[in-house]
Amino acid sequence: MSARIYLPRDAGALALGADAVAAALAREARARGIGLDIVRTGARGLYWLEPMLEVATPSGRIAYGPIAPEEVGSLFAADFLAGGAHPKQLGRPEEIPFLKRQTRLTFARCGIVDPASAADYAAHGGWLGLARALALGPAATVEEVVASGLRGRGGAGFPTGIKWRTAAGAKAARKYIVCNADEGDSGTFADRMIMEGDPFVLIEGMLIAGYAVGASKGYLYTRSEYPHAIAAMNAAILAARSGGFLGENIQDSGFSFDLEVRVGAGAYVCGEETALLDSLEGKRGVVRAKPPLPALQGLFGQPTVINNVISLASVPIILAEGAKAYQDLGYGRSRGTMPIQLAGNIRNPGLFEAAFGVTLGELVEEIGGGTASGRPVRAVQVGGPLGAYFPRALFDTPFDYEAFAARDGLIGHGGVVVFDDSVDMAAQARFAMEFCAIESCGKCTPCRLGSTRGVEVMDRIRAGRDVEKNLALITDLCETMKFGSLCALGGFTPYPVMSALTHFRDDFTRAAAQAAA
């Protein structure tokens, strides 16, 4: 007999031992004379259950997890290939509450399909968005994306369709599509999951963007810290090219487009779009002043659409299902779904794609299950290292660009990092300044020098020296950085610092209080 098992090759699953489980499965099957077809997928994003395997049974997939290599023998003994009962049996994966509560549009295929197979992508609804775009024509494709209300998922939240319209209207011999896959924010892994789990959807999104604005060349700029994503994207690009989805005259449409992966070199600031463009040009990743907008003068001075992975990966389903279906979901001016990433000290970490509007408290307490350590939640950093720390008192904040901004925070790329009550918030504020100092590109003085001065001021505060005077100084420094920096690195580092000070002031004054006592 021959059976089929799905097991992730996602870097997160690998970090928890998925390869050892795969080896144990193959070994045990051989010993029992069973033919086993192990398909290495992306991850579903239920990371506390990884390594999680799924067995194809006549009544659908049955999941088991988390599986240790030593447990594989007992799985065979329990006849897991027929979906047999076992203490680690999870039932149908789509019925697991964490997954059932989600609205998976961008991540519809992630963890299900074979990311190395263009045929599997097509069999699961792939390329339908491109087909509709080719039928609509470039201008109507741009308007479809505008009408969907899709906003940049990298963090800035700028309407994607407006960027496209600007680039489409620019007159130039060459235009570029650049995918910003430089996912450097701590607490985020959605881009990595898409690249490793459903790379063709990203290729399709870039193709649609290229067709819509009249670009023939695309670059995907990702991180050297993501070796598995790089390998998955390169394999998918080769498969797409041999399947006639990249190159000359794609699917006999007359449209030609090709795509290349470029790898950064450990500079966080290259996630800022203009620094990324300089890095792609082979230069130091230094931030550019805007204007000119990249849509008019971007890569090598040519009109360039630069969009985040999730923005581009959301385009195929918007085209396939129509703008209205996407626009119908959401909250306020935040339309569609957002892949939220639950990370850090949290019991159920993972990828939670849902329509905007779910509250921070629901995400952390209900869906995330509270802390992994079992201690009370004290602070939650939303939106990466440049995002604000939220106390429990603000857990009613809905996940929405404007609602977070109204509370001096940001949703950024959707990362949610949970800390328990052992966290020292003054230490977190110091780290925010230290990180800015390490990663500053050096162009603006408030960022380049202010971050180092910020570390020094935080050190004095944490030592209990002239605390009131130094708190006034760090507040003033944050104002200067916020309004005097060109990009979000210097401009947003004040968010974690000032939110920590505003909501957790005791941590800043404790050293002085103890010295006085």
Binding site: E183, Q341, F431
Partner: protein, 174 residues
């Protein structure tokens, strides 16, 4: 005049023992025709020799029609590019917030203290280099690391000690 070729004496770090200018030149030439090919060329050199030695700078400058100062500026900007090879094994430990939330900072500080190293340092036997990294996208299984490119999650002291022991007992991994 090619200024880059005249400052032989300013080179402090010698190139790695397996440095081969002809091979480096061929790797660089293979990338020099691409748009913005300097970063791919730097990655190719580092992949082949474990670092981008100063001896590579004139080759890069000439291939990309840049001054040697510009090449040096690009190399110096990016954290990844090394001027001398790392140890036989490399452990990249994440220092970012999600890993901090699960005791990553104390774990890293203990390890560095036990090995007598700072971030970026290599053990005296040349077996292991410990590098800081800011996010590996493994924020759902913190603290996380890459050990010779393989992801490791939910690190604790025992697992870290085992990785260090493995590095010191074995030769270079493939």
């Amino acid at each position: 005049m090619d200024i880059a070729m005249t400052d032989e004496h300013s080179r402090h770090a010698p190139p790695p023992p397996d440095w081969d200018a002809a091979r480096a030149g061929a790797l660089i030439a293979a990338e020099s025709g691409r748009e913005g090919g300097l970063l791919p060329a730097l990655h190719a050199v580092q992949a082949a020799f474990g670092c981008v030695p100063e001896a590579a700078e004139p080759l890069l400058a000439s291939a990309f029609n840049l001054s040697r100062a510009e090449v040096k500026g690009v190399i110096g900007f990016y954290h990844d590019f090394r001027r001398a090879p790392a140890g036989r094994h490399v452990l990249k430990l994440c220092r970012a917030e999600a890993c901090q939330s699960m005791n990553g900072a104390a774990l890293a500080a203990d390890l560095l203290a036990r090995l007598g190293l700072d971030w970026g340092g290599t053990t005296a036997d040349g077996a292991l280099t410990i590098e800081a990294v800011y996010c590996l996208g493994l924020c759902a299984m913190p603290p996380a690391a890459l050990f010779d490119g393989a992801p490791v999650g939910r690190l604790e002291a025992g697992r870290l000690a085992a990785l260090v022991a493995e590095a010191r007992q074995t030769g270079p991994s493939a």
